[in-house]
Every structure is written in C-alpha cells, then in structure tokens.
C-alpha cells in the first residue's frame, strides 16, 4: 500500500520526466533517464558549482588551521538555511491541501501512510536544497584534505542529519505560517509579506555570514575555536559530525532522531483534523456593481494576473523580481555614487561600460520572475473552460507571456530609472538608452522563452498547484537560463574588446531576434500544442 502511495506521490511530482503531456504518452525509458540526468546536472553543476567554489575557498585554510570542523559547521548552517527557505512556504500546501484528500481518505489506506508519502515529498525537497550545499562540501573535503573512513561516513551522516533537521523546521514553520495566514484576510499578500521579511532576514544573515567567512579566510589562525565551542556547542558538534567524531555522531544523531520522531508524532495526531477542516473564511457580502466591458486581450491578461496574485506560492517562487528589482534600484540610489567611484578606479573601465553592466545586473535581478513558466500547466483540468470560449488561443498564450511582462517590466524600468539617476552625469545618452532598452528586451524575451518551455513540458494532471510551480524540468531550466544569459552577457562586457555602445547594440539585436522567433513559435506551433492538450 505504502509503495503504491509513494509511487503516486513521485509520479505526481516528477510526471514530466515520465509522461509526454502533449501526446499523453509514456516517455521512452531512455528519454526519462536523459531528462533526469539533465535535471541532476543542472542542480549539481549550477547550484552545486556555486557552493563547490565556496567549499574550495574555505576547506584548505580551515584545514591548515586545524579547525576543519568549522568548515562543516559553516556549510551545514548554509545548507540548513537554504533547505528551510526552499521548502517552508510549500510545506503546508504539500502536506494538507492536496486535491485528492477526499479520494485518498475515502480509500482503505491508513492515514499515516498518506501522511508518510507526503512527508517524503517535503523531505526530498529539503534534501535537494541542503544536498546541493553539503554534497560538494563533503566531496571537496575528501579530495582536498584526506580520505579517511571517519570523514567519509561522518560527511555522509551530516548530509542525512541536516536534511532531517530541514524537514523538521520546514514542517514546524510551514504549520506556523499556515496558522498565521489562515486567520487573516488577503492571505496571499500577507503570506508574501511574511515571506519577504524572511527573505530580508535571509540576506542579512547571508551577508553577515559572508563577512564572517571572509574574515576566517583572511586569518584562520586567529579563530578562537575554544570560544566558539564554549558559546555555540551545537554548532561545534555539527561540525564534528562532518569530521566523523564518534561522540558527536552519536549525540547529534540521537538528538535529530528524537526531534524527527516528536515531529512525526505531532503531525500524525493532527494530520486528519487539519487536512479535513475547511479554511476559515469570512463571508464577503456581494454588492452589485456595474463594471465596464473590457477588451478581449485585457480580459485574458487579467485572468492570468488573478491566478498569479491569488496564489502566494506562485508569487513567492516565480515572482520575486517584482520586489527585488525596485529594491536594487533603491540600493543604487543610496550607494550609486560610491559604486561609480569604486568601478571607475579599475583600469580600462569606461562610464559606458558601467552603464552596460548596470543594464545586465538589472536583467539578472529580473530573472527570478518566471511567471509564464508554469502558466500552461496551471490551466489543469479547467483548460476546457477557456477552450470552449471564443477566445483565440493566440490571445490566451500571449496573455500568459504578457502577465510576466506586466509584473516585471514596470519594476525593471523603475530600476533602470533609479540606476540612471544614481549614475547621473556619468553615462552617455546612448548608454542611458541601453540601460532601459536591454532589460526591457530581456524581460520580453524571458517571458516568451518561459512560456515556450512550458509548452514543451506541459503537465495538466496535478493535485496541487505547487507541484507545477515548484518542480519540474521546465521551471528549473527557466530559472537557470534566466540567470545564465545575463551572466554570460556580463562576461562579454568585461572581456570582449568592443565598445560598450556597440555591445549594447549587439545585445539589443541578440535579444530582439529571438523575441521575434519565439513570438512566431508561440503563435503558430504553441497554438497547436495548446489546442491538443488534454
């Protein structure tokens, strides 16, 4: 029974790997393996690569100073933070709000099996995020220092223990977040607000952490290990687990297992009640109000916008740039003059290069918006509603891309404006134009690109919206390529022997051509794909 449930859970989460939704056919095993490998490579190379670089930088100096445990302590904390942050806002929906609750609970399946299968989903999500930090850290330690049996099993145990801690904290915080928001009106926006506070905290901790790490790397010998051990014993013990210290391994394992057992016990006792209690809502009194008739394109666009703003998970996972871009703009306004002076000190950096760099940094900041990436899949079983209406499929699809533009472009242009004000007097007229044009074109490109990815990997058969928002190859590829493209372009600014103005022209054309291509692809091939989805 449990095996069947687990299989269902995994099939739901990773359906795109096994089933071709466009043809409604099972993929060939080779294609499935290829897709899973591609997914793994993307996670390991891109995210893992980032943390591998950090591990390489930290490992040797701390090993040299004889405090390798601190290396594992630091990376374990990063993994813990990333893991919790990555899964906390999806935990409640994933655990309690499955559309198949009634079906599963009506079947002769023990409730604890349902809970276990769903908890496994939460655990795997946490393991994925914490693993991309700790797995490279473990491998690099074994390569860079020495290979001992203790270090081998200690590192492995640390990965498991941290992923379990992530699981426990995600479950508890997810429950708290859900409880708080369930008592409030405008749940989606308040959830986003709470999450944004979390993000700000995350970055405060992150930057403080970076400062501490930089300090350690500059002077590892100056670290007072005894003081850390005395003041932060759990932090020390976690580090010692990574080193394979038997006492630390036993103690931390026992602690984590007790906490996991307690969490499971609480969830087991409360699951049925929470899952079957309808969300409390105050009944809104309907008041008749005349509304003006809207044009068709606006009607389609508003449908998408309403879907986006009604789901906190959607906004948090794929719409963060709407907040991040203006935040960057404000940062530029405050620190712009200092940054300009710092950059101009470097040899060969022209003011126009700074302008181009600014344009691409804005592109990077906007790349966390991938609203169109799950928009086709989110139609779900309700796809027949829109398909039975006299709305051209082209309008439906362009509204999906348009929705991403709607929530990204104003933020991007505002950031460009703030950036130009911050660097006033430095940039030439052509540079100023590119600070606006390049991010704007990038926004349009990314919207069409994300939509195209979803048309390539649609999944209408989900039981929870968060599954198509958070998981799937299309989403990962969308986010990673959104990040990779401006990064590559930024490398071009630094290394290509072309003036910034020419580079701006080349980049604009480079973005414009795929926009035209994707527009035609979406309005021809995409229309065919959408009309055949079932």
């Amino acid at each position: 029974m449990l095996k069947i449930l687990l299989k269902k859970q995994m099939m739901e989460a990773f359906r795109g790997f096994f089933v071709n939704s466009k043809k409604n056919q099972r993929r060939a095993p080779k294609i499935t393996v290829l897709l899973i490998a591609l997914y793994a490579v993307l996670m390991v190379v891109v995210l893992g690569g980032m943390f591998s670089a950090l591990s390489v930088g930290l490992c040797a100096p701390l090993a040299g100073a004889g405090i390798l445990w601190l290396y594992f302590s630091i990376l374990a904390m990063i993994a813990l933070f990333l893991g919790v942050f990555g899964s906390v806002f999806n935990t409640f929906a994933g655990l309690y709000q499955g559309k198949d609750n009634d079906l599963l609970l009506s079947l002769p399946i023990p409730v604890r099996y349902i809970l276990f299968a769903r908890l496994l989903g939460v655990y795997l999500m946490g393991l994925m995020f914490s693993g991309v930090v700790l797995l490279p850290a473990w491998i690099i330690r074994l390569i860079a220092v020495d290979f001992t049996v203790g270090a081998f099993f200690g590192g492995l145990l640390l990965i498991v223990l941290i992923s379990l801690l992530v699981f426990v904290i995600s479950c508890l915080l997810g429950w708290v977040v859900a409880k708080i928001t369930s008592k409030l009106k405008s749940k989606s926006f308040l959830t986003v607000l709470i999450a944004l506070v979390g993000i700000v905290l995350y970055y405060v901790v992150y930057f403080k952490g970076v400062n501490i790490v930089e300090g350690l790397m500059n002077d590892p010998a100056g670290i007072d290990a005894a003081a850390i051990k005395g003041k932060a014993l759990p932090f020390y013990l976690i580090g010692r687990v990574g080193e394979g210290d038997p006492f630390a391994c036993l103690f931390v394992t026992a602690f984590v297992l007790i906490v996991v057992a307690l969490t499971y016990l609480v969830l087991d006792r409360t699951f049925l009640k929470i899952a079957t209690t309808p969300a409390s809502s105050t009944k809104k009194q309907y008041r008749e109000k005349r509304v003006a008739m809207r044009p068709l394109w606006l009607t389609a666009l508003l449908r998408e916008a309403r879907h986006f703003t009604a789901n906190a998970g959607y906004m948090l996972n794929l719409g963060l740039s709407t907040i991040l871009c203006p935040a960057l703009g404000i940062f530029l306004l405050v620190k712009g003059a200092t940054l300009r002076e710092v950059f101009l000190q470097f040899e060969g950096v022209s003011p126009d290069m700074i302008g181009m760099g600014l344009a691409l940094i804005i592109c990077l900041a906007s790349s966390m918006n991938a609203i169109a990436a799950p928009s086709v899949s989110l139609e779900g079983k309700g796809i027949d509603v829109i398909r039975s209406l006299p709305v051209p499929t082209k309008t439906v699809l362009l509204a999906k891309a348009g929705n991403q533009v709607l929530f990204t472009l104003p933020a991007v242009l505002l950031t460009s404006l703030f950036g130009v004000i911050a660097l006033r007097g430095t940039l030439s007229v052509s540079s100023v134009v590119f600070v606006f044009v390049v991010p704007a074109l990038f926004t349009v490109f990314l919207s069409l690109y994300d939509l195209t990815l979803n048309l390539l990997t649609p999944n209408l058969h989900w039981t929870n919206e968060i599954a198509v928002i958070k998981q799937g190859l299309g989403i990962i590829v969308a986010l990673l390529s959104g990040f990779a493209l401006p990064s590559l372009m930024l490398v071009g600014v630094i290394f290509l022997p072309i003036s910034a103005v020419w580079l701006g022209l080349i980049y604009s054309v480079t973005l414009l051509l795929p926009i035209i291509g994707l527009y035609f692809a979406v309005t021809t091939w995409g229309v065919e794909v959408f009309e055949k989805l079932s």
Partner: protein, 244 residues
C-alpha cells in the same frame, strides 16, 4: 413538438473521432433545429462527451462535419464558440476567482454590455439563490454551486445553442427545476439545447428529440414519440442496449 420549418442550429454529419485505435464516435449524424431540446443518452463511455466536445470545438475530429448555424466548427471555431455556450460534466471553474469575477470574465469574453450583463446576472443568480455567494471565491463553492454558476455563465450572453454534459448532476430539486424552465425559455425564444443525461425520466419529460448512442454509433434518434412509441424511454433504452 417538431419544428420542421425552423432553422437548423446544429448539424453533425458523419462525425468520426478515434483515440489511438479506438473509435470513440463512429459516423454519427444528427441535427437540431431552433426551438428544440435535444437529449443525448448512452451508457458511460458510449461517446457522448466526445461528441459534445467535438461540437463545441474543444476536440479535433478525424472525419465528418459539424456546423452551428451554418458555420463549420473546423473552418471557423471562434465564430461557432460565439454562438454557443458549453457546460462540461464537472465544471472546473477558476477557483482563484470569485463568482462575480468569473461571470464578468465570461461576459467580457462574449462582449456583453455592462447593463445587460448586470440584469442577467441579477436575474439568474436570484433564480438559483446564488446572489449572496457571488462575492465568494469559487474555490469555496460546493459542486452544486459551481454547477449553478456554470449555468449562469452559459446563459449570460444569450447563446443560440447551449451544449451541456450531464447538467443536472449536483443540482438540488429547486435548481434543477429552474434549469429546466431556463432551457424551455431559451428554446421558446428561438434557441436550442443539446445535452447528455443519464436521467431518463428527465429526458423523457423535457426533450423534444432524443438520440441514443452506443459504442460510438447512433442507434436511434428522432422525436420522443418516434423513439419510444408507447413504451417508456427507459424500457426502449434498455432494449436497444441489449440488442445493439
């Protein structure tokens, strides 16, 4: 009551639709005239929903022709969709919208002027007792409430043809009665109704014409009198099911 002189609203000729190797609908032909309520009956998997979805323009079909008011579904699906309304068997409406936002969304799509939609929403929401719930999110609606909302949204642009898949499922007796009245009213005003049902008593009392489908093939169709003669529709249906 057969309206032999009235205009043909829906004409399906030699419709064939296959899924892989299975023929879901096989050379099916029927026509519906203005003023007619046309019932479509058959066992589960007989091909009813496939026929209805093909008529609406949701499903592409392999052979045959479907015309609504003379317009081909294949050639101009959008023009056909402007003429009709469709209610699926299990309306998956947009849970993220409130009832009123959904109705305004549909009204916008069909270009229904503000004052007209306002009047229709008021009329039908009151008829179904749904007015007080229009401000609520659809995700909080019961199945019956969703069904009522789907009916109101279907009537909001005064369609010439309403196609419904099991429209009475989930409706309480009062709402079912209201829907029957609305169906008759629409037909009296020159519209037509094509709907599938498993409730043979309803079909027998409500329909002017009926078609029985089995294994994708139309096994009998015509006026209610032609199809059932002196027997009940249930008896005829069961006999045909055994014979065919």
């Amino acid at each position: 009551m057969e309206n032999v002189n009235s205009a043909e609203v829906l004409s399906i000729t030699h419709l064939t639709k296959t899924y892989g190797e299975k023929k879901a609908v096989d050379d099916l032909s029927l026509s519906i005239r203005a003023g007619e309520i046309y019932g479509f009956i058959g066992h589960n998997g007989a091909g009813k929903t496939t026929t209805l979805k093909s008529a609406v323009g949701i499903l592409a079909f392999d052979a045959g022709e479907i015309r609504v008011n003379g317009i081909s579904v294949k050639e101009d699906p959008l023009a056909v969709k402007r003429e009709i309304a469709y209610i699926p068997d299990n309306p998956e409406l947009y849970g993220y919208m409130t009832g009123i936002k959904y109705l305004n969304f549909i009204a916008d799509v069909f270009r229904v002027p503000a004052e007209v939609r306002e009047e229709r929403i008021r009329k039908y929401a009151e008829a179904f007792g749904l007015t007080a719930d229009l401000g609520q999110a659809i995700s909080s609606y019961s199945h019956g409430m969703k069904q009522k909302l789907a009916v109101i949204s279907a009537w909001i642009h005064a369609p010439k043809l309403v196609i419904m898949d099991e429209p009475f499922v989930g409706l309480d007796p009062r709402a079912a009665h209201t829907l029957k009245e609305m169906m008759r009213e629409l037909c009296d005003e020159g519209g037509a109704i094509f709907f599938s049902t498993h409730v043979l008593e309803v079909a027998e009392k409500l329909c002017d014409k009926v078609a029985i489908i089995k294994g994708g093939k139309l096994i009998r169709s015509g006026t209610m009198e032609e199809v059932k003669g002196d027997e009940s529709l249930e008896e005829v249906f069961l006999e045909l099911e055994e014979d065919a």
